[in-house]
Symmetry: C2
Subunit: 407 residues, 2 copies
Amino acid sequence: MLSVKTPEEVMTLLKESFPSGITGETVIPLSEAPGRVLCEAVTADEYIPGFDRSSVDGYAVRAADTFGCSDAIPALLAESGEILMGESAGLILSPGECAAIPTGGAVPAGADAVVMIEYTEDYGDGTIGILKSVSPGENMVFRGDDLRPGTVLLPKGRKLSVPDIGALAAMGMDRVRVFRKPLVGIISTGDELVPVSETPAGGQIRDVNSSMLAALAADAGADVRSFGILKDDENLLGKTLDAALSECDLVLLSGGSSVGIKDAALRVIESRGEVLLHGIAMKPGKPTIIGRIGGKPVFGLPGHPVAAFFVSDLFVRPLIGRLMGRSVRIRTVPARITEAVSANHGRAQYMGVFLSGSEDSLSAVPVRSKSGLITAQAGSDGYFCIPRDCEGVPAGAEIRVKLYTSD
Amino acid sequence: MLSVKTPEEVMTLLKESFPSGITGETVIPLSEAPGRVLCEAVTADEYIPGFDRSSVDGYAVRAADTFGCSDAIPALLAESGEILMGESAGLILSPGECAAIPTGGAVPAGADAVVMIEYTEDYGDGTIGILKSVSPGENMVFRGDDLRPGTVLLPKGRKLSVPDIGALAAMGMDRVRVFRKPLVGIISTGDELVPVSETPAGGQIRDVNSSMLAALAADAGADVRSFGILKDDENLLGKTLDAALSECDLVLLSGGSSVGIKDAALRVIESRGEVLLHGIAMKPGKPTIIGRIGGKPVFGLPGHPVAAFFVSDLFVRPLIGRLMGRSVRIRTVPARITEAVSANHGRAQYMGVFLSGSEDSLSAVPVRSKSGLITAQAGSDGYFCIPRDCEGVPAGAEIRVKLYTSD
């Protein structure tokens, strides 16, 4: 008999049971790469920059030719040519010569510094006056200043940012090897369920969970496949789970409200693998099962949509990230609760809130609903937790709110 | 002659010049809807719940039949049937009768309360003992308790969360009308540019911006179309811009480093619409143009990838959100800078940082790079701004860091 675990214990259990990045590798184009995780370090295989560049608009010179010059006594150099963007510097600068060069242009052989255009004067007869001396290397960036072959640019496990994408492109990579997105299979069960598009007859309800869990999994970065709505039939459930496991990396069973099908989910998982957890000390969300079949995670989620949401947001969302190599980080914002909320049932209690006010001083109004239906959560902004050993929070207390969306 | 604007003035200019949600409407399936913005209010057109439901497992009763009962003197009721999930309650409860009912089951006609199973006793002869009285309506949720036809569930402009998706599904919506994703066209210009997949010859550099801007636009929620790399040719630039504007909602021109093509971008925009801005008082990123052609925004971005990144992250990213109806919110985290950074050039200065430490006490190491190349930004976590009238920040100062990724 497995004991009921606290939410913190469940997080630890998931980390211990499912290694990061187990969905394997894939190669994707750069435009899809922000937020994806490198499954191998990226190492430079060339010099960046690839040639000595000017970092200003001006004239490439031999620094020694400018020593001692000033506004009053300019150094006079012969303009031997002009460096164009995108062209190799064909010319070779001799002593007493200079060449016009744009920012980013290739510094020609013979030159060892660049004078900014502001400190020059064009006499119009092929002679350029240099009004300020430069030291060797001044206003230049040298080949390999940033990277040399073998330098690690980005480590394995790096979650790629937009500037990272730019750096990869600069290195000549138009594709990148990352951890694959998990494919999440979703199975809804319950005799009372009808598809969302149908009007429920007496006693029936719409299958909210298939749509909601698909949205959550996609929002968390996964691909999603739905296996439809099953009647409460253990044999059918087993066959559908087998089909889902044959192609998916993670399977979400969303149970009906009846006791029979919950036991069926338990037996179906037990007979194919192991049940890691049966029951979480949280409200709502207690009747949750977590199993492992062939190394893959299988969740038996509560049929009640509000409970299914909290359990999936707390545990399935970070697990999806983990399967594709992302580290798990839960971000919260502080807010003051506008009214007292009681809790005295020995389970961590999760509750939606409506936020208002400025970012520095948020007020949180708890979602009050007699029905506990998901419709009551519509328009709310996030949720908070009252820990299991706490009898509630008084009005005005500071709480930490996990937002539904991160931006 | 247009004056150079500060970053704050640019934000205001964009808000005034481009209305929220101008890309129009589209209908999408629920699974794609998290983060999308409603372009019309969603109103209930039915009662939620749709029938009187039990909120506990137990027995549906006439409350009056239980008045005065107790552990010692149970009320004895005849079990007239069992309510199954998903089935309309066909039976009608007569006085002295009760019916077994699961959580969420439809309360039968005649019953007006539910007794929790914990307070009942099954005598096995068709008689159920009720050990605790209930008042009318107890342990029930009534039809329409949450929503009635005409109630606004979610307002126009709501950015949809996962629980919102659940609420829409519960209301029978499997698709939802939202603001359309903008299509962003990207044009790179510069004689010195070669595609990322090619090895640059002397003086050439790879076209970093096409890949990086496509990644940024996609990450911001847009669809992206690339119009390739153009040589510095004003006529070709004009024709390509016309083609991009004929299908895209926003066009990003990424200029080469040469002076000529910058002027060309300005003339090409001017001749087709209006130039709203020419130059931003920021470093890097000064040589930025913002125009409006046929109501659509056109950016002339710096060719330098680091400058192009800062300008696009600061202005293009929120504009993409705005075009699809999202409100603009810039989130930052506090951190202490590990070394002094000077700034005394009269422009807001943006600089990448590497973060370390815990969320409550982050240290920020500034990206130092002589080259200013995008490769130097690889692996950094975000960036901060030194305001234009500030001469720098001392080591240990608290700065606000905008993270590249929000999760």
